[in-house]
Amino acid sequence: MKKVKVATVWLDGCSGCHMSLLDMDALIIQLEKKIDIVYGPLVDTQEFPEDVDVTLVEGAVSSQDDLAKVQVIRQRSRLVISLGDCAVTGNVPAMRNSIPVNKLLQRVYIEGAQANKVVPTDRVPALLKTVRPVSEYVKVDYCLPGCPPPSKNITGMIVNLLEGRKPEANLTVKFG
């Protein structure tokens, strides 16, 4: 059987959703026979591949880089799933939305340094004015809420999709 191509992506988040994904523990040994991880923090692919079956997106859209990434991901993925509250709502990263970007950078790099006080500008991606959920920029097929989503919800979603079932919306969710 042809393996299902899965990508995982980490935008502005903490990686906790990826950890919850790995919290499937030994189930990953069985999944290895059914899926290929073709892109993401766990593998070495440099460019987001064409023709991905399912992409799990952790994190909110916060920088120009993030924005460019979600657009490529959408074009090249059959299904896009928002993985966790940052992708679904903006969550903690969006706490900066009431602060002008220049004030935030000023606080960190000028007031928050003792030497060489300068706001980095060379080859670092610019921050967007506000942090937004993935679904504000591209169509999202499914959402897995939670901070992080419980591991069994993530594996439940994956197993459902592998077996050709439409995921159901009656999952236990952990907020906060």
């Binding site: 919850s20 790995l22 692919t45 900066r96």
Partner: protein, 471 residues
């Protein structure tokens, strides 16, 4: 002039890219590590009640949220001016050691073992944890089980594996029951077997990596780690020690409250990650933190198995050992240390005491919490108003301390392995692999110091970056 970009640097915890500049002769002119994300927790937490800080700052990192919970709770303890109950301290230590086991296991088995087992030059399409599962199922299973052992302790105590709310200002929310303790103890021997098996395997494999050892971030620096008054390795509480390049102790017993007298931070124009430095030496004061730095800084571990291993490590590779390749070795040794500590804590009758939380309001307008996170020294520093609202916050995270050294390591590996006439994937993977050795948590570093786009401009031998920094 030709520029090679490695983007993203894979199998690390966060977003980074490396740019390597080659001159017309195809030789590496410069190499830079860029961290490319920014979050600004110091600013976005202004105005929040101090007791929310553990929960908010845990979201800096999903790999080591326990580190942030603990450093934050310790800063809050200081604001409340409480001494937490003895059982609470022991339970915090217990969950901390459990986190070391899971975080170090993640780094070694899930992220770095593909390089070490499958080979730096192996096919990149399968050079990952699924490739390890397919070809080395026993090793993969060991890694999965060791990580799970640590996470199950965290889950047992805190009800959640990621972002538990069990660690609170003043202590912890609930005690451990004898049944919970006994369940952990029953699984401990298996975890120790895995840790020992992996460490012995790694030691025997080191001889096959002589070239990499000599070229993987192998240069003298200072090392910073937490110790007690006797010089023993400490992870939860202690004072900082800086050990110098030749093994002499430069400064010792720096308490958390004095960190700013010894550590300053510089901004890099081309990086979102600030660069801390050892203040008395100015911008030249490069030091390293994390597993290798801790073992270099301390005199001993003060647990029997880890100490035997440490003696052997020092006999084989010297003290201090300077190659970043040994971060892997130190990480495995620390897993054993953490398991020994877990065993000792669970044998202590006081661990099941039910008094685990002290209560108080704002008694001090400033608090500093310092711990050793898996990746190195972590400092949370808060100021509050009399109502307990945060007016100012500063966070210095482990990966930040290593900023300058990681940059220098990237440059060293690029210079040794990358040559312009024919670029091979394996060369570039080695550049990524040296970054993996530090196990940088760019999630942590980007959130904390404000931003996290980090571009480390490496220190070239002619010192270009230092020139820039010194302006």
């Amino acid at each position: 002039m030709k520029r090679i970009t490695i983007e993203p640097v894979s199998r690390i915890e966060g977003h980074a890219k490396v740019t390597i500049q080659l001159n017309d002769a195809g030789q590496v002119e410069n190499a830079e590590l860029h961290v490319t994300q920014v979050r600004g927790f110091e600013k976005l937490t202004e105005g929040r009640p101090y007791y929310e800080m553990p929960g908010i700052t845990a979201r800096i990192c999903g790999i080591c949220p326990v580190s942030h919970l603990l450093a934050s709770a310790k800063a809050c303890d200081a604001i409340m001016a409480v001494r937490i109950p003895p059982a609470a301290r022991k339970l915090r230590e217990l969950i901390h050691y459990a986190q070391f086991v899971q975080s170090h296991a993640l780094s070694f088995f899930y992220l770095s073992s593909p390089d070490l087992i499958l080979g730096m030059d192996s096919n990149p399409a399968t050079r990952n944890v699924l490739g390890i599962i397919a070809t080395h199922p026993e090793l993969a299973r060991d890694g999965i089980e060791l990580r799970k052992f640590g996470l199950q302790i965290i889950e047992t105590l805190g009800q959640e594996r990621v972002h538990s709310s069990w660690i609170v200002p003043g202590g912890v929310k609930s005690p451990i029951t004898p049944a919970m303790r006994d369940k952990i103890l029953a699984e401990l021997p298996h975890a120790k077997q895995i840790a020992d098996r992996t460490l012995q395997f790694f030691k025997s494999a080191c001889d096959g990596f002589k070239d990499d050892i000599a070229r993987f971030g192998c240069f003298p620096t200072m090392y910073c780690g937490m110790v007690n008054a006797a010089g023993d390795l400490q992870l939860y509480d202690g004072n900082l020690r800086f050990r110098g390049v030749t093994g002499d102790i430069i400064t010792d017993q720096i308490p958390a409250a004095d960190y700013a007298d010894w550590i300053s931070e510089a901004t890099l124009r081309n990086s979102y990650l600030k660069a801390p430095y050892y203040k008395p030496q100015g911008l030249e004061g490069m030091y390293r933190v994390g597993p290798l730095a801790r073992l270099n800084a301390a005199d001993r571990c003060a647990t029997p198995i880890a100490d035997n291993e440490l003696v052997e490590f020092r006999q084989r590779y010297g003290h201090p050992a300077h190659s970043a390749f040994f971060y892997h070795y130190a990480r495995l040794l620390e897993i054993m240390f953490a398991l020994e500590k877990i065993e000792a804590l669970l044998a202590d009758p006081q661990i099941v005491d039910e008094h685990v939380r002290a209560n108080a309001g704002v008694n001090s307008l400033e608090g500093i919490g310092m711990i050793e996170a898996p990746r190195g020294v972590l400092i949370h520093h808060y100021k509050v108003n009399p109502d307990g609202a945060i007016t100012w916050a500063n966070l210095i995270v482990a990966t930040g301390h290593n900023n300058l050294a990681m940059g220098k390591s990237v440059k060293q590996v690029a210079t040794e392995y990358v040559h312009g006439d024919k670029i091979e994937e394996g060369m570039l993977n080695r550049v990524s692999a040296v970054i993996r050795a530090y196990d940088p948590c760019l999630s942590c570093s980007t959130h904390a110091d404000g931003t996290i786009a980090m571009q480390v401009q490496l220190l070239s031998q002619d010192g270009k970056l230092l020139d820039e920094l010194s302006r």
